[in-house]
């Protein structure tokens, strides 16, 4: 399990290979890449700046990954979240889950993303033509996370 918060870009080939290249039990890797879009709520976005709560972030992400591991067959998992200033088309987050079979990999990956969106202490500020503004939390993200509740 690898959990990392960083400003640098990441290498998808290397990150995914680390999940499967040395483990021939892995039959499936489901992954998610979140990217900066150039429009949000109808306004142009020039840059996105991500802030987080060092310490709590890693703790929250580790807890989410552990919860996913307790629910599905998960052989390995990588979560990398970038912070700092990013531009449209730049990757923000990578969540990748390695499992024996695809259903577990898909479900665990989507679960981690849904909880990351509502539980991990990151905040986005976007620069628009009208100035900088903090991105508002989306109710749809709460709904997405709530559907996993047992």
């Amino acid at each position: 399990m690898k959990i990392q918060v960083q400003t640098a870009a990441f290498d998808l080939n290397a990150e995914l290979a680390a999940l499967y290249a040395a483990n021939p039990k892995v039959g499936a890797v489901a992954s998610f890449l979140g990217l900066v879009r150039d429009v949000n709520e109808g306004d142009g976005v020039a840059t996105l700046t991500l802030e987080h709560y060092p310490g709590m972030t890693e703790k929250a992400l580790a807890r989410i990954v552990e919860e996913a591991r307790s629910r599905w067959d998960m052989l390995d998992c990588t979560v990398i979240h970038r912070v700092g200033e990013l531009k449209p088309t730049e990757p923000i987050v990578l969540v990748a889950v390695a499992s024996s079979h695809r259903q577990d990999a898909f479900a665990a990956c989507e679960f981690v993303m849904d909880y990351l969106k509502t539980q991990a202490p990151f905040w986005k500020k976007e620069m628009t033509p009208d100035g900088a503004r903090w991105v508002e939390a989306r109710e749809s993200d709460d709904t997405a996370a709530a559907r996993w509740q047992k």
Binding site: Y53, A60, K117, F122, K124, W134
Partner: protein
């Protein structure tokens, strides 16, 4: 009781500080008491921490609710709903 207070994102900007060391009066026993105590500072504190405003609380880097009891040395964070990913 002494605690460290951390503010993030919009709250950090509104309060004009990222952290402070606070000595709490004896009647502040829970996280809810602490929020009420901060609110009583007035200004941005009263506005941002008003009843019904959406903010989140964490104690020692775990999400927490107003009923959570505080103890000396706690790291308390107050921040807007998260928007990562």
């Amino acid at each position: 009781m002494n605690v460290t207070l951390l503010y993030f994102a919009r709250l950090r900007e509104q309060f004009g500080t990222a952290s402070e060391a606070a000595t709490l009066p004896a009647e502040v026993k829970t996280l809810g008491d602490l929020v009420a105590w901060l609110r009583a500072r007035g200004g941005h504190w009263a506005t941002e921490l008003a009843e019904g405003r959406a903010f989140r609380l964490a104690v020692n880097q775990d999400m927490a609710d107003p009923a959570t009891a505080l103890k000396d040395g706690d790291e308390v964070a107050i921040f807007p709903p998260v928007t990562g990913g």
